[in-house]
Protein backbone atom coordinates (compact mmCIF):
# COMPACT_ATOMS: atom_id res chain seq x y z
CA UNK A 1 0.00 0.00 0.00
CA UNK A 2 2.79 2.43 0.99
CA UNK A 3 4.69 1.66 -2.20
CA UNK A 4 2.06 3.58 -4.12
CA UNK A 5 2.66 6.71 -2.09
CA UNK A 6 5.20 8.98 -3.73
CA UNK A 7 5.95 11.07 -0.64
CA UNK A 8 9.01 9.98 1.37
CA UNK A 9 8.90 9.51 5.14
CA UNK A 10 11.41 12.36 5.61
CA UNK A 11 9.23 14.81 3.66
CA UNK A 12 6.13 13.70 5.58
CA UNK A 13 7.95 14.20 8.91
CA UNK A 14 8.95 17.71 7.79
CA UNK A 15 5.42 18.60 6.67
CA UNK A 16 3.98 17.32 9.97
CA UNK A 17 6.50 19.42 11.95
CA UNK A 18 5.57 22.46 9.83
CA UNK A 19 1.84 21.91 10.50
CA UNK A 20 2.48 21.61 14.26
CA UNK A 21 4.60 24.76 14.03
CA UNK A 22 1.77 26.52 12.21
CA UNK A 23 -0.68 25.47 14.94
CA UNK A 24 1.65 26.79 17.63
CA UNK A 25 2.20 30.08 15.77
CA UNK A 26 -1.55 30.46 15.32
CA UNK A 27 -2.10 30.05 19.09
CA UNK A 28 0.75 32.42 19.88
CA UNK A 29 -0.41 35.19 17.54
CA UNK A 30 -4.03 35.00 18.74
CA UNK A 31 -2.93 35.05 22.38
CA UNK A 32 -0.63 38.01 21.74
CA UNK A 33 -3.70 39.78 20.38
CA UNK A 34 -5.24 39.02 23.80
CA UNK A 35 -7.93 36.79 22.39
CA UNK A 36 -8.84 33.15 22.79
CA UNK A 37 -8.01 31.05 19.76
CA UNK A 38 -10.62 28.93 17.99
CA UNK A 39 -10.53 25.38 19.34
CA UNK A 40 -11.88 24.07 16.05
CA UNK A 41 -9.00 25.56 14.05
CA UNK A 42 -6.46 24.28 16.58
CA UNK A 43 -8.02 20.82 16.54
CA UNK A 44 -8.05 20.76 12.72
CA UNK A 45 -4.39 21.83 12.50
CA UNK A 46 -3.27 19.25 15.05
CA UNK A 47 -5.37 16.64 13.26
CA UNK A 48 -3.63 17.49 9.97
CA UNK A 49 -0.17 17.28 11.53
CA UNK A 50 -1.06 14.05 13.31
CA UNK A 51 -2.32 12.34 10.13
CA UNK A 52 0.79 13.33 8.17
CA UNK A 53 3.03 12.19 11.02
CA UNK A 54 1.13 8.87 11.21
CA UNK A 55 1.77 8.41 7.51
CA UNK A 56 5.46 9.21 7.98
CA UNK A 57 5.79 6.74 10.87
CA UNK A 58 4.00 4.08 8.80
CA UNK A 59 6.33 4.64 5.85
CA UNK A 60 9.33 4.40 8.14
CA UNK A 61 7.87 1.32 9.88
CA UNK A 62 7.22 -0.37 6.53
CA UNK A 63 10.82 0.32 5.55
CA UNK A 64 12.41 -1.12 8.71
CA UNK A 65 9.67 -3.71 9.25
CA UNK A 66 9.28 -2.77 12.90
CA UNK A 67 8.01 0.00 15.11
CA UNK A 68 10.24 3.00 14.21
CA UNK A 69 12.03 3.50 17.53
CA UNK A 70 15.59 2.74 16.52
CA UNK A 71 17.30 6.13 16.82
CA UNK A 72 16.81 9.47 18.68
CA UNK A 73 15.10 11.00 15.64
CA UNK A 74 12.45 8.28 15.50
CA UNK A 75 11.98 8.35 19.27
CA UNK A 76 11.40 12.12 19.17
CA UNK A 77 8.91 11.71 16.31
CA UNK A 78 7.09 8.87 18.06
CA UNK A 79 6.99 10.89 21.28
CA UNK A 80 5.46 13.90 19.47
CA UNK A 81 2.93 11.55 17.83
CA UNK A 82 1.99 10.01 21.23
CA UNK A 83 1.66 13.48 22.73
CA UNK A 84 -0.77 14.65 20.04
CA UNK A 85 -2.70 11.37 20.19
CA UNK A 86 -3.13 11.83 23.95
CA UNK A 87 -4.25 15.39 23.40
CA UNK A 88 -7.03 14.07 21.15
CA UNK A 89 -8.17 11.80 23.98
CA UNK A 90 -7.78 14.28 26.86
CA UNK A 91 -8.56 17.58 25.13
CA UNK A 92 -12.22 17.05 24.15
CA UNK A 93 -13.02 15.02 27.29
CA UNK A 94 -11.73 17.54 29.81
CA UNK A 95 -11.90 20.72 27.73
CA UNK A 96 -8.70 22.17 29.14
CA UNK A 97 -8.34 25.59 27.54
CA UNK A 98 -5.02 26.31 25.77
CA UNK A 99 -3.85 22.69 26.08
CA UNK A 100 -3.99 22.46 22.27
CA UNK A 101 -1.63 25.43 21.91
CA UNK A 102 0.81 24.04 24.46
CA UNK A 103 0.64 20.58 22.83
CA UNK A 104 1.35 22.15 19.43
CA UNK A 105 4.36 23.94 20.97
CA UNK A 106 5.92 20.79 22.43
CA UNK A 107 5.07 18.71 19.35
CA UNK A 108 6.89 21.34 17.23
CA UNK A 109 9.94 21.29 19.51
CA UNK A 110 10.10 17.49 19.42
CA UNK A 111 9.34 16.92 15.74
CA UNK A 112 11.19 19.93 14.29
CA UNK A 113 13.98 19.74 16.89
CA UNK A 114 14.81 16.19 15.86
CA UNK A 115 15.92 17.52 12.45
CA UNK A 116 18.52 19.88 13.99
CA UNK A 117 21.13 17.15 14.56
CA UNK A 118 21.22 15.03 11.35
CA UNK A 119 23.20 12.27 13.07
CA UNK A 120 20.16 11.51 15.25
CA UNK A 121 18.54 9.90 12.23
CA UNK A 122 21.42 7.49 11.88
CA UNK A 123 21.01 4.26 9.95
CA UNK A 124 20.67 1.04 11.88
CA UNK A 125 20.33 -2.60 10.96
CA UNK A 126 16.81 -3.75 10.21
CA UNK A 127 15.10 -5.89 12.80
CA UNK A 128 16.46 -3.85 15.70
CA UNK A 129 14.12 -5.63 18.09
CA UNK A 130 15.42 -8.99 16.92
CA UNK A 131 11.94 -10.03 15.86
CA UNK A 132 10.92 -10.14 19.53
CA UNK A 133 7.42 -8.70 19.78
CA UNK A 134 7.64 -8.31 23.56
CA UNK A 135 10.57 -5.95 23.17
CA UNK A 136 8.77 -4.06 20.42
CA UNK A 137 5.71 -3.73 22.65
CA UNK A 138 7.93 -2.71 25.56
CA UNK A 139 9.58 0.06 23.49
CA UNK A 140 6.28 1.34 22.07
CA UNK A 141 4.62 1.39 25.50
CA UNK A 142 7.63 3.08 27.10
CA UNK A 143 7.55 5.90 24.55
CA UNK A 144 3.76 6.08 24.85
CA UNK A 145 4.11 6.50 28.63
CA UNK A 146 6.59 9.31 27.89
CA UNK A 147 3.75 10.83 25.85
CA UNK A 148 1.71 10.85 29.07
CA UNK A 149 4.61 12.41 30.94
CA UNK A 150 5.05 14.98 28.16
CA UNK A 151 1.42 16.08 28.39
CA UNK A 152 1.73 15.97 32.20
CA UNK A 153 4.66 18.37 32.04
CA UNK A 154 2.60 20.68 29.78
CA UNK A 155 -0.27 20.63 32.28
CA UNK A 156 2.26 21.35 35.04
CA UNK A 157 3.69 24.31 33.10
CA UNK A 158 0.15 25.64 32.62
CA UNK A 159 -0.43 25.19 36.36
CA UNK A 160 2.72 27.13 37.25
CA UNK A 161 1.82 29.96 34.85
CA UNK A 162 -1.70 30.23 36.24
CA UNK A 163 -0.41 30.10 39.82
CA UNK A 164 2.20 32.77 39.06
CA UNK A 165 -0.55 34.97 37.60
CA UNK A 166 -2.73 34.56 40.66
CA UNK A 167 0.11 35.13 43.13
CA UNK A 168 1.37 38.23 41.30
CA UNK A 169 -2.18 39.47 40.67
CA UNK A 170 -2.04 39.39 36.90
CA UNK A 171 -5.23 38.79 35.03
CA UNK A 172 -4.70 39.80 31.41
CA UNK A 173 -3.55 37.90 28.36
CA UNK A 174 -2.76 34.22 28.77
CA UNK A 175 -3.83 34.11 32.44
CA UNK A 176 -7.41 34.84 31.46
CA UNK A 177 -7.61 31.83 29.15
CA UNK A 178 -5.77 29.18 31.16
CA UNK A 179 -7.85 26.52 32.94
CA UNK A 180 -8.35 26.76 36.70
CA UNK A 181 -5.69 25.57 39.13
CA UNK A 182 -7.95 22.82 40.46
CA UNK A 183 -8.69 21.50 36.97
CA UNK A 184 -4.99 21.46 36.08
CA UNK A 185 -3.99 19.87 39.37
CA UNK A 186 -6.60 17.13 39.06
CA UNK A 187 -5.59 16.47 35.47
CA UNK A 188 -1.92 16.27 36.49
CA UNK A 189 -2.78 13.68 39.13
CA UNK A 190 -4.69 11.52 36.64
CA UNK A 191 -1.98 11.78 33.98
CA UNK A 192 0.72 10.85 36.48
CA UNK A 193 -1.21 7.77 37.60
CA UNK A 194 -1.91 6.65 34.02
CA UNK A 195 1.67 7.34 32.89
CA UNK A 196 3.11 5.30 35.76
CA UNK A 197 0.74 2.40 34.97
CA UNK A 198 1.74 2.41 31.28
CA UNK A 199 5.46 2.68 32.09
CA UNK A 200 5.14 -0.15 34.64
CA UNK A 201 3.41 -2.31 32.02
CA UNK A 202 6.17 -1.46 29.56
CA UNK A 203 8.84 -2.50 32.08
CA UNK A 204 6.93 -5.70 32.84
CA UNK A 205 6.87 -6.64 29.13
CA UNK A 206 10.55 -5.74 28.86
CA UNK A 207 11.35 -7.88 31.89
CA UNK A 208 10.10 -10.98 30.06
CA UNK A 209 13.07 -10.52 27.72
CA UNK A 210 15.58 -9.22 30.28
CA UNK A 211 15.15 -12.16 32.64
CA UNK A 212 16.15 -14.68 29.99
CA UNK A 213 18.67 -12.48 28.14
CA UNK A 214 20.17 -10.35 30.91
CA UNK A 215 23.60 -10.17 29.26
CA UNK A 216 22.08 -8.59 26.12
CA UNK A 217 20.57 -5.66 28.02
CA UNK A 218 22.92 -2.69 28.45
CA UNK A 219 23.32 -1.85 32.15
CA UNK A 220 23.18 1.95 31.58
CA UNK A 221 19.87 1.58 29.75
CA UNK A 222 18.36 -0.62 32.44
CA UNK A 223 19.60 1.72 35.20
CA UNK A 224 18.32 4.89 33.50
CA UNK A 225 14.90 3.35 32.76
CA UNK A 226 14.50 2.01 36.28
CA UNK A 227 15.58 5.34 37.80
CA UNK A 228 13.02 7.25 35.74
CA UNK A 229 10.32 4.73 36.66
CA UNK A 230 11.31 4.93 40.35
CA UNK A 231 11.26 8.74 40.16
CA UNK A 232 7.71 8.85 38.79
CA UNK A 233 6.58 6.14 41.20
CA UNK A 234 7.98 8.12 44.15
CA UNK A 235 6.22 11.29 42.98
CA UNK A 236 2.97 9.32 42.62
CA UNK A 237 3.23 7.81 46.11
CA UNK A 238 4.06 11.20 47.64
CA UNK A 239 1.13 12.69 45.76
CA UNK A 240 -1.29 10.04 47.03
CA UNK A 241 0.00 10.64 50.55
CA UNK A 242 -0.60 14.39 49.99
CA UNK A 243 3.04 15.08 50.81
CA UNK A 244 3.80 16.50 47.36
CA UNK A 245 1.05 18.71 46.03
CA UNK A 246 0.37 21.57 43.67
CA UNK A 247 3.48 23.68 42.94
CA UNK A 248 6.12 21.22 44.13
CA UNK A 249 4.30 18.42 42.32
CA UNK A 250 4.29 20.47 39.10
CA UNK A 251 8.01 21.25 39.39
CA UNK A 252 8.83 17.60 40.14
CA UNK A 253 6.95 16.32 37.07
CA UNK A 254 8.59 18.90 34.77
CA UNK A 255 12.04 18.05 36.14
CA UNK A 256 11.39 14.32 35.79
CA UNK A 257 10.27 14.71 32.18
CA UNK A 258 13.40 16.71 31.38
CA UNK A 259 15.44 13.92 32.99
CA UNK A 260 13.50 11.27 31.08
CA UNK A 261 14.22 12.99 27.75
CA UNK A 262 17.87 13.50 28.69
CA UNK A 263 18.16 9.82 29.65
CA UNK A 264 16.69 8.75 26.29
CA UNK A 265 19.28 10.82 24.49
CA UNK A 266 22.07 9.54 26.76
CA UNK A 267 20.99 5.91 26.33
CA UNK A 268 20.79 6.26 22.56
CA UNK A 269 24.16 8.03 22.35
CA UNK A 270 25.77 5.38 24.53
CA UNK A 271 24.24 2.60 22.42
CA UNK A 272 25.58 4.27 19.29
CA UNK A 273 29.11 4.47 20.68
CA UNK A 274 29.11 1.02 22.27
CA UNK A 275 27.28 -0.96 19.60
CA UNK A 276 28.41 -0.01 16.09
CA UNK A 277 26.53 -1.85 13.37
CA UNK A 278 28.06 -5.25 12.73
CA UNK A 279 30.24 -5.48 9.65
CA UNK A 280 28.41 -6.86 6.70
CA UNK A 281 25.05 -6.48 8.38
CA UNK A 282 22.33 -5.02 6.16
CA UNK A 283 22.19 -1.35 7.02
CA UNK A 284 19.25 0.91 6.52
CA UNK A 285 19.86 3.50 3.83
CA UNK A 286 20.92 7.01 4.88
CA UNK A 287 18.09 9.48 5.07
Amino acid sequence: MFNEITITDGTAFKVAAAVYGGAFLFALVVLLMRRAYSRTIMFALLCGGFLIQTLALNLRGAEIKACPLGNPFEIAQFLAWSLVLLFFIIGPAFRLRLLGGFTAGLATILSAGSFIIPSWDRAYPPGIFGGNHWIELHAALAIFSYGFFAILSLVSIMFLIQQHGLKTKQFKGIYRYLPSLQQLDLMAKRLLLTGVIVLTASLAFGAVFWVSNFELVPVYKLTATCLIWLGYLTVLILRIQEKLATRRHAIATIALFALAIASLWAVESARESVEPPAQGAPIQTER
Partner: protein
Protein backbone atom coordinates in the same frame (compact mmCIF):
# COMPACT_ATOMS: atom_id res chain seq x y z
CA UNK B 1 -39.33 62.06 2.51
CA UNK B 2 -41.15 59.73 4.81
CA UNK B 3 -43.20 61.37 7.53
CA UNK B 4 -43.51 58.14 9.47
CA UNK B 5 -39.81 57.72 9.99
CA UNK B 6 -39.37 61.35 10.85
CA UNK B 7 -41.37 60.69 13.99
CA UNK B 8 -39.38 57.75 15.33
CA UNK B 9 -38.33 58.94 18.78
CA UNK B 10 -36.92 58.09 22.18
CA UNK B 11 -37.74 60.10 25.29
CA UNK B 12 -36.18 59.29 28.61
CA UNK B 13 -33.94 59.88 31.60
CA UNK B 14 -30.84 57.94 32.60
CA UNK B 15 -28.07 57.81 35.17
CA UNK B 16 -25.91 60.08 32.98
CA UNK B 17 -27.71 63.30 33.87
CA UNK B 18 -30.30 62.34 36.46
CA UNK B 19 -29.26 61.94 40.11
CA UNK B 20 -30.50 58.93 42.03
CA UNK B 21 -33.02 60.85 44.14
CA UNK B 22 -34.64 62.24 40.98
CA UNK B 23 -34.58 58.86 39.23
CA UNK B 24 -36.43 57.47 42.24
CA UNK B 25 -39.26 59.91 41.55
CA UNK B 26 -39.51 58.83 37.92
CA UNK B 27 -39.15 55.12 38.70
CA UNK B 28 -41.91 52.71 37.70
CA UNK B 29 -42.68 49.22 38.87
CA UNK B 30 -42.85 46.57 36.16
CA UNK B 31 -46.64 46.62 36.20
CA UNK B 32 -46.70 50.45 36.05
CA UNK B 33 -44.32 50.32 33.07
CA UNK B 34 -46.61 47.89 31.24
CA UNK B 35 -49.60 50.05 32.10
CA UNK B 36 -47.84 53.15 30.74
CA UNK B 37 -46.90 51.27 27.59
CA UNK B 38 -50.53 50.26 27.05
CA UNK B 39 -51.73 53.79 27.70
CA UNK B 40 -49.25 55.24 25.22
CA UNK B 41 -50.23 52.73 22.58
CA UNK B 42 -53.86 53.72 22.98
CA UNK B 43 -52.93 57.41 22.70
CA UNK B 44 -53.93 59.02 19.46
CA UNK B 45 -51.12 59.21 16.91
CA UNK B 46 -48.81 56.69 18.62
CA UNK B 47 -48.41 53.80 16.21
CA UNK B 48 -45.82 51.78 18.10
CA UNK B 49 -44.22 52.10 21.52
CA UNK B 50 -41.97 50.38 24.05
CA UNK B 51 -41.13 51.35 27.64
CA UNK B 52 -37.70 50.40 28.93
CA UNK B 53 -37.63 50.60 32.71
CA UNK B 54 -34.44 49.71 34.62
CA UNK B 55 -32.82 51.06 37.79
CA UNK B 56 -30.60 53.32 35.68
CA UNK B 57 -32.95 54.45 32.96
CA UNK B 58 -36.53 55.03 31.96
CA UNK B 59 -36.96 55.33 28.22
CA UNK B 60 -39.98 55.49 25.96
CA UNK B 61 -39.36 54.42 22.38
CA UNK B 62 -42.08 55.21 19.88
CA UNK B 63 -43.25 55.77 16.37
CA UNK B 64 -45.77 58.58 16.11
CA UNK B 65 -47.64 60.25 13.27
CA UNK B 66 -45.79 63.50 13.98
CA UNK B 67 -42.86 64.49 16.16
CA UNK B 68 -45.05 66.87 18.21
CA UNK B 69 -46.55 63.80 19.89
CA UNK B 70 -43.37 63.64 22.02
CA UNK B 71 -44.54 66.74 23.89
CA UNK B 72 -47.89 65.07 24.58
CA UNK B 73 -46.09 62.00 25.93
CA UNK B 74 -44.04 64.20 28.28
CA UNK B 75 -47.25 65.62 29.73
CA UNK B 76 -48.89 62.21 29.90
CA UNK B 77 -45.95 60.70 31.79
CA UNK B 78 -45.67 63.62 34.22
CA UNK B 79 -49.39 63.49 34.99
CA UNK B 80 -49.24 59.77 35.58
CA UNK B 81 -46.16 59.96 37.82
CA UNK B 82 -47.30 63.14 39.49
CA UNK B 83 -44.04 65.00 38.79
CA UNK B 84 -43.70 68.51 37.46
CA UNK B 85 -42.94 68.92 33.78
CA UNK B 86 -40.16 71.39 34.65
CA UNK B 87 -38.40 68.74 36.72
CA UNK B 88 -38.80 66.12 34.01
CA UNK B 89 -37.65 68.49 31.26
CA UNK B 90 -34.62 69.46 33.32
CA UNK B 91 -33.27 65.89 33.19
CA UNK B 92 -34.97 64.29 30.20
CA UNK B 93 -33.47 63.84 26.75
CA UNK B 94 -35.09 63.00 23.48
CA UNK B 95 -33.77 61.88 20.12
CA UNK B 96 -35.48 61.33 16.82
CA UNK B 97 -34.93 59.26 13.67
CA UNK B 98 -31.32 58.23 12.99
CA UNK B 99 -30.27 59.45 16.45
CA UNK B 100 -32.88 57.12 17.94
CA UNK B 101 -31.36 54.20 16.08
CA UNK B 102 -27.88 55.13 17.22
CA UNK B 103 -29.11 55.52 20.79
CA UNK B 104 -30.85 52.15 21.02
CA UNK B 105 -27.83 50.43 19.48
CA UNK B 106 -25.52 52.04 22.04
CA UNK B 107 -27.86 51.10 24.88
CA UNK B 108 -28.06 47.46 23.81
CA UNK B 109 -24.27 47.21 23.39
CA UNK B 110 -23.78 48.55 26.92
CA UNK B 111 -22.04 51.76 25.76
CA UNK B 112 -24.58 53.91 27.55
CA UNK B 113 -24.46 51.87 30.77
CA UNK B 114 -23.00 52.98 34.07
CA UNK B 115 -20.56 50.04 33.86
CA UNK B 116 -19.47 50.34 30.23
CA UNK B 117 -19.95 47.10 28.32
CA UNK B 118 -22.14 45.36 30.92
CA UNK B 119 -24.46 42.76 29.46
CA UNK B 120 -27.39 43.00 31.86
CA UNK B 121 -28.94 45.82 29.86
CA UNK B 122 -29.25 43.60 26.79
CA UNK B 123 -31.31 41.12 28.82
CA UNK B 124 -33.49 43.94 30.16
CA UNK B 125 -33.97 45.32 26.68
CA UNK B 126 -34.93 41.86 25.38
CA UNK B 127 -37.44 41.47 28.20
CA UNK B 128 -38.98 44.87 27.51
CA UNK B 129 -39.16 44.07 23.81
CA UNK B 130 -40.78 40.67 24.45
CA UNK B 131 -43.41 42.29 26.68
CA UNK B 132 -44.15 45.01 24.11
CA UNK B 133 -44.22 42.51 21.27
CA UNK B 134 -46.60 40.19 23.14
CA UNK B 135 -49.05 43.02 23.79
CA UNK B 136 -48.70 44.16 20.15
CA UNK B 137 -47.40 47.57 21.19
CA UNK B 138 -44.53 47.22 18.73
CA UNK B 139 -44.97 46.95 14.99
CA UNK B 140 -42.82 46.55 11.90
CA UNK B 141 -40.51 49.50 12.62
CA UNK B 142 -39.77 48.92 16.32
CA UNK B 143 -39.58 45.16 15.79
CA UNK B 144 -36.92 45.65 13.14
CA UNK B 145 -35.16 48.27 15.24
CA UNK B 146 -34.86 46.11 18.36
CA UNK B 147 -34.06 42.88 16.59
CA UNK B 148 -31.28 44.65 14.68
CA UNK B 149 -30.01 46.25 17.87
CA UNK B 150 -29.63 42.82 19.50
CA UNK B 151 -27.66 41.59 16.49
CA UNK B 152 -25.46 44.68 16.50
CA UNK B 153 -24.81 44.33 20.25
CA UNK B 154 -23.75 40.72 19.78
CA UNK B 155 -21.44 41.65 16.94
CA UNK B 156 -19.91 44.51 18.93
CA UNK B 157 -19.27 42.20 21.88
CA UNK B 158 -17.68 39.45 19.84
CA UNK B 159 -15.57 41.73 17.67
CA UNK B 160 -14.29 44.07 20.39
CA UNK B 161 -13.25 43.83 24.02
CA UNK B 162 -16.13 46.00 25.26
CA UNK B 163 -17.45 43.29 27.61
CA UNK B 164 -14.09 41.73 28.45
CA UNK B 165 -13.04 41.53 32.11
CA UNK B 166 -15.15 42.19 35.18
CA UNK B 167 -15.69 45.71 36.46
CA UNK B 168 -17.42 45.19 39.81
CA UNK B 169 -15.69 43.92 42.96
CA UNK B 170 -18.13 41.01 43.29
CA UNK B 171 -17.62 39.85 39.72
CA UNK B 172 -13.83 40.29 39.91
CA UNK B 173 -13.89 37.96 42.93
CA UNK B 174 -16.02 35.45 41.02
CA UNK B 175 -13.57 35.62 38.11
CA UNK B 176 -10.58 35.02 40.37
CA UNK B 177 -12.36 32.23 42.23
CA UNK B 178 -13.11 30.57 38.87
CA UNK B 179 -9.42 30.79 37.95
CA UNK B 180 -8.59 28.95 41.17
CA UNK B 181 -11.43 26.46 41.57
CA UNK B 182 -13.03 26.21 38.14
CA UNK B 183 -16.67 25.41 38.80
CA UNK B 184 -17.72 27.00 42.06
CA UNK B 185 -20.58 24.70 43.07
CA UNK B 186 -18.31 22.60 45.26
CA UNK B 187 -16.65 25.56 46.98
CA UNK B 188 -17.37 26.50 50.57
CA UNK B 189 -17.42 30.17 51.51
CA UNK B 190 -16.89 31.80 54.90
CA UNK B 191 -17.92 35.41 55.44
CA UNK B 192 -16.12 37.05 58.35
CA UNK B 193 -18.11 40.15 59.22
CA UNK B 194 -21.33 41.24 57.67
CA UNK B 195 -20.31 44.30 55.63
CA UNK B 196 -22.24 45.38 52.55
CA UNK B 197 -19.41 44.71 50.06
CA UNK B 198 -18.83 41.23 51.44
CA UNK B 199 -22.55 40.52 51.24
CA UNK B 200 -22.62 41.60 47.58
CA UNK B 201 -19.52 39.52 46.91
CA UNK B 202 -21.15 36.49 48.53
CA UNK B 203 -24.25 37.09 46.41
CA UNK B 204 -22.11 37.22 43.26
CA UNK B 205 -20.50 33.91 44.26
CA UNK B 206 -23.90 32.42 45.02
CA UNK B 207 -25.18 33.46 41.61
CA UNK B 208 -22.32 31.44 40.09
CA UNK B 209 -23.24 28.25 41.89
CA UNK B 210 -21.71 28.46 45.38
CA UNK B 211 -24.18 26.65 47.61
CA UNK B 212 -22.37 26.50 50.93
CA UNK B 213 -22.04 29.88 52.61
CA UNK B 214 -21.25 30.34 56.32
CA UNK B 215 -21.29 33.68 58.12
CA UNK B 216 -19.44 34.60 61.27
CA UNK B 217 -19.71 37.99 62.93
CA UNK B 218 -19.04 39.43 66.39
CA UNK B 219 -22.79 39.97 66.72
CA UNK B 220 -24.28 36.54 66.19
CA UNK B 221 -27.71 37.99 65.34
CA UNK B 222 -26.22 39.93 62.41
CA UNK B 223 -24.44 36.81 61.22
CA UNK B 224 -27.61 34.78 61.53
CA UNK B 225 -29.64 37.39 59.64
CA UNK B 226 -27.14 37.58 56.77
CA UNK B 227 -26.73 33.80 56.68
CA UNK B 228 -30.50 33.46 56.44
CA UNK B 229 -30.69 35.92 53.53
CA UNK B 230 -27.90 34.03 51.72
CA UNK B 231 -29.38 30.63 52.46
CA UNK B 232 -26.37 29.64 54.57
CA UNK B 233 -25.44 28.98 58.17
CA UNK B 234 -23.99 31.12 60.97
CA UNK B 235 -21.19 30.19 63.35
CA UNK B 236 -19.96 31.93 66.48
CA UNK B 237 -17.08 34.32 65.96
CA UNK B 238 -15.00 32.49 68.59
CA UNK B 239 -15.27 29.26 66.57
CA UNK B 240 -14.25 30.33 63.07
CA UNK B 241 -10.49 29.83 63.61
CA UNK B 242 -10.97 26.16 64.42
CA UNK B 243 -13.03 25.61 61.27
CA UNK B 244 -10.92 27.47 58.71
CA UNK B 245 -9.70 24.28 57.03
CA UNK B 246 -13.21 23.54 55.76
CA UNK B 247 -13.47 26.73 53.69
CA UNK B 248 -12.14 27.37 50.20
CA UNK B 249 -13.06 31.05 49.94
CA UNK B 250 -12.82 33.35 52.98
CA UNK B 251 -14.18 36.88 52.69
CA UNK B 252 -13.15 39.19 55.53
CA UNK B 253 -14.85 42.50 56.19
CA UNK B 254 -14.91 42.99 59.96
CA UNK B 255 -14.38 46.30 61.69
CA UNK B 256 -11.73 44.73 63.94
CA UNK B 257 -8.83 47.10 64.65
CA UNK B 258 -6.38 44.19 64.72
CA UNK B 259 -5.37 41.46 62.27
CA UNK B 260 -7.58 38.38 62.53
CA UNK B 261 -5.75 35.94 60.29
CA UNK B 262 -2.02 35.48 60.70
CA UNK B 263 0.46 33.61 58.56
CA UNK B 264 0.97 30.90 61.21
CA UNK B 265 -2.77 30.17 61.47
CA UNK B 266 -3.19 29.94 57.70
CA UNK B 267 -0.02 27.84 57.29
CA UNK B 268 -1.38 25.40 59.88
CA UNK B 269 -4.76 25.35 58.13
CA UNK B 270 -3.15 24.62 54.77
CA UNK B 271 -1.28 21.64 56.23
CA UNK B 272 -4.67 20.09 56.85
CA UNK B 273 -5.77 20.67 53.26
CA UNK B 274 -2.60 20.54 51.14
CA UNK B 275 -4.37 19.78 47.87
CA UNK B 276 -7.15 22.38 48.15
CA UNK B 277 -6.22 26.01 47.49
CA UNK B 278 -7.51 28.80 49.72
CA UNK B 279 -8.75 32.10 48.34
CA UNK B 280 -8.66 34.93 50.89
CA UNK B 281 -10.46 38.18 50.14
CA UNK B 282 -9.74 41.00 52.57
CA UNK B 283 -12.31 43.76 52.15
CA UNK B 284 -11.77 45.21 55.64
CA UNK B 285 -10.23 48.54 56.52
CA UNK B 286 -7.98 48.19 58.53
CA UNK B 287 -7.09 44.86 57.00
CA UNK B 288 -8.17 41.62 58.68
CA UNK B 289 -5.51 39.43 57.05
CA UNK B 290 -1.78 39.72 57.61
CA UNK B 291 -0.13 40.39 54.22
CA UNK B 292 2.53 37.73 55.02
CA UNK B 293 -0.23 35.13 54.49
CA UNK B 294 0.48 35.56 50.78
CA UNK B 295 3.73 33.65 51.23
CA UNK B 296 1.89 30.47 52.26
CA UNK B 297 1.83 27.87 49.48
CA UNK B 298 -1.50 27.47 47.70
CA UNK B 299 -2.99 30.60 49.34
CA UNK B 300 -4.19 33.51 47.21
CA UNK B 301 -4.76 36.76 49.07
CA UNK B 302 -6.48 39.75 47.50
CA UNK B 303 -7.35 42.97 49.33
CA UNK B 304 -9.69 45.78 48.39
CA UNK B 305 -6.95 47.69 46.53
CA UNK B 306 -6.02 44.64 44.44
CA UNK B 307 -9.63 44.03 43.47
CA UNK B 308 -10.30 47.69 42.73
CA UNK B 309 -7.23 47.98 40.55
CA UNK B 310 -8.31 44.91 38.53
CA UNK B 311 -11.83 46.34 38.17
CA UNK B 312 -10.46 49.76 37.16
CA UNK B 313 -8.01 48.33 34.65
CA UNK B 314 -10.78 46.27 33.11
CA UNK B 315 -12.99 49.35 32.94
CA UNK B 316 -10.21 51.36 31.27
CA UNK B 317 -9.67 48.54 28.78
CA UNK B 318 -13.37 48.57 27.99
CA UNK B 319 -13.40 52.35 27.57
CA UNK B 320 -10.54 52.04 25.11
CA UNK B 321 -12.83 49.91 22.94
CA UNK B 322 -15.67 52.46 22.81
CA UNK B 323 -14.65 53.99 19.49
CA UNK B 324 -14.35 50.59 17.81
CA UNK B 325 -17.81 49.66 19.07
CA UNK B 326 -19.26 52.97 17.95
CA UNK B 327 -17.90 52.39 14.47
CA UNK B 328 -19.65 48.99 14.27
CA UNK B 329 -22.89 50.38 15.69
CA UNK B 330 -22.92 53.42 13.40
CA UNK B 331 -22.59 51.13 10.40
CA UNK B 332 -25.55 49.10 11.62
CA UNK B 333 -27.57 52.26 12.38
CA UNK B 334 -26.99 53.63 8.88
CA UNK B 335 -27.89 50.34 7.21
CA UNK B 336 -31.01 50.04 9.30
CA UNK B 337 -31.98 53.64 8.63
CA UNK B 338 -31.61 53.16 4.88
CA UNK B 339 -33.56 49.89 5.03
CA UNK B 340 -36.43 51.52 6.89
CA UNK B 341 -36.47 54.48 4.52
CA UNK B 342 -36.40 52.22 1.47
CA UNK B 343 -39.22 50.11 2.86
CA UNK B 344 -41.26 53.22 3.58
CA UNK B 345 -40.72 54.58 0.05
CA UNK B 346 -41.69 51.26 -1.51
CA UNK B 347 -44.81 51.12 0.63
CA UNK B 348 -45.78 54.58 -0.59
CA UNK B 349 -45.05 53.76 -4.22
Amino acid sequence: MSEVLESLFVLGTSHHATPLEVRERFALTQSQALELQKLLHQHEGIRECLVLNTCNRLEIYGLADCIERVEEIRGLFCDKQNVSEELFNQYAYSHSNLETLQHVLEVSAGLDSQMVGETEILGQLKQAYAAAHDTECTGKVLNRLFEKSFQAAKEARTQTGISRGQVSIGNVVVDLASRIFGKLNGSRVLLLGSGEVSEKTAQALKSRGVGDITVSSRTFENAHKLAHSLGGAAIHFEDFNAQLEHFDIIICSTAAPITLLHKEVIALTMKQRPERPCFLIDLAMPRDVDSAVEEVENVYLYNLDDLSSIANENLEARKAEIEKVREILNKHAWNLWLQLRRRELMRKA
